[in-house]
Symmetry: C2
Subunit: 339 residues, 2 copies
DNA sequence: TTGTACGCGTTATCAT
DNA sequence: ATGATAACGCGTACAA
């Protein structure tokens, strides 16, 4: 009830008439303390408004019950979903998420990671494989578990939970090929320092190459993952390299942006143009029945990453590589190529 | 170069042939240490891969260079933008963001906040005014600065940086009234434990009441902030209470969802129906020219919150209440009411 | 079952 | 300008 200042454990102990050790054990639910004593200590702690001092605890136990995530801008809804799932699942296990973001900048990424390690995170979650070796060395030396998310490290160097971007990309492209499309354009995410965007683009190229089709350089535009950028990219393609019947987008934000531009130009989708692509946050699917998409379960990845991390922190073992299945959603209305 | 284990500051000191105190000062850029000595220590620290132990530092300095944010699900793009800006600005000042989320649940919110305080955050950022009094007591007793974001506390009890939701809502509604609309419907955000959603809805009611118009109960639907929920809400309104010519949405996700449903039903927007609402992430504006919106500068709020917090942590003073201006974007094509 | 005492790694206060 | 040394608040061997 009273609130003199920030009470220490010693204050609680004194108030309860026990020693520090007993107070500590009582609050830790230790069976080494008799029920009445335990109860009394807990009562007093509540009365005094005692809040444990995490730094002291971390210093003593060498664990912070904290997990760090080094993410590209989380205002990208893709990562927002994963961040949310991650924070939520970690919290459920008594862990808190330390979030560090960077703008796809390797140097900033290392600095951000360092900041997390200095805060004593018990584990680190990264996105993708595209990192400066120094980054891996840093977390390696810190001797904390590290989870790579979104991408899969087939080389087996790292623990990872993610999606087979390239393969999914190949499949969806093949679907369009099967519909008769021959003239393709692509709005890709920015591929620099981003293996997901790169793999998705590569997949398109591979699928086309498999049928002897080459992607015209002017039919490929890179854009930041956002609706306006997607629309702008679409404008460029339509203006400067028209004639394609299929448009593949690296992400649903890009697809929705492209779609908006088509609506504005009275280009019927999928009548005049088929748009397809990755649906990281299910936005494309919700917006229109016109898009064929690869659904990427972003939240699921976050959840799995949390569980894997928690398992490892608890000393349990997890598979080094965990692939999350994507689902190709083919709309009834997805268009065939124009004659 | 070598990496034996996690070197302590004492290891660095020994390697550099100085005392612990000197090593500490050297790395802290203290002017109390001679340049050559300082340089040598820093070299050695780098060589050994020394990473400061945050918990120990926090224990000694009583600061963690960490700020906590207690947010509703950050996969809501609204908050994602703010989270991003917050993390970014804090990082630029050497602070790291501790993120705790909750699903609009007051109890979970308190637990989450407690977790942050236990981690020793130097400050706390909250969203909105709708909190359990115990929450305020908790952070108050922790004796750390607290910033309320999004909402404004005109009672002057808390530091806050946000938006005048109700007033903006009144204005945009009046705009529709001025266009001749008399039959209104509203898709509001879930108002429970959410003063922003509530204020926005209240604003609509106020504006209508000002012209002697009452909002029919069956013309008001609450929906979670998401595109699919927005569409579902729109379905319900159109099916069960048709006849409205103006639809106000609590948020751009809801508006976009509603728009999608209208497109599907061949309802022309704004020809047949005018849709307007709050545009938290500029999505509505980017999607279509058909929507009149109140642009809420979400990222700006995050940025300001960070700066205010940093200022207070540095002992500087800030205005207790800081209002961020919203901007009403009236599209040329926003429809007049049908005759 | 409970208490005593030490250590966690750093900063800060003294001397020197 | 540098070096001992005492906090910082908690967990936990070890002793009782």
């Amino acid at each position: 009830m009273k609130a003199p200042a920030n009470p220490r454990l010693s204050d609680v102990a004194r108030a309860a008439g026990v020693s520090l050790a007993t107070a500590s054990r009582a609050l830790a639910e230790s069976a080494l303390v008799r029920e009445p004593t335990r109860e009394r200590v807990r009562q007093l702690a509540k009365m005094l408004g005692y809040v444990p001092h995490g730094a002291a605890r971390a210093l003593a136990t060498r664990r912070s019950r904290t997990v760090g995530a080094v993410f590209p801008p989380v205002d990208n809804p893709i990562f927002a979903a994963a961040t949310q799932a991650l924070a939520h699942e970690l919290a459920a296990a008594g862990y808190t998420l330390l979030l560090a973001t960077h703008e796809y900048d390797p140097v900033a990424e290392i600095a951000a990671t360092r900041a997390l390690l200095e805060r004593g995170v018990d584990g680190v979650v990264l996105i993708g494989m595209d990192h400066d070796p120094a980054l891996f060395e840093l977390v390696g030396r810190a001797n904390v578990p590290c989870e790579i998310t979104w991408s899969l490290d087939h080389a087996g160097h790292h623990y990872c939970v993610g999606v087979a971007h390239r393969l999914a990309s190949v499949r969806i492209t093949q679907h369009l090929l099967d519909l008769g499309h021959r003239e393709f354009a692509v709005i890709a995410g920015v591929t620099a320092h981003n293996d997901r965007a790169r793999e998705r683009l590569t997949g398109v190229r591979e699928a086309l190459a498999g049928r002897g089709i080459e992607l015209r350089p002017d039919r490929v535009v890179e854009a930041e993952f956002s609706i306006p950028q997607g629309r702008r990219a679409c404008v460029r393609l339509l203006d400067q390299a028209p004639g394609f019947t299929a448009l593949l987008c690296g992400n649903d934000l890009l697809a929705v942006g492209a779609l908006a531009e088509c609506v504005r130009r009275d280009i019927r989708v999928p009548g005049d143009l088929s748009i397809a692509g990755f649906d990281d946050i299910d936005m494309a699917a919700e917006m229109t029945p016109a898009l064929t998409t690869v659904r990427v379960p972003a939240a699921e990845i976050g959840r799995l990453a949390a569980h894997r991390m928690l398992a490892r922190l608890a000393g349990r073992d997890v598979a080094k590589l965990e692939e999350v299945r994507t689902e190709i959603v083919i709309r009834e209305s997805t268009g065939k190529a124009r004659a």
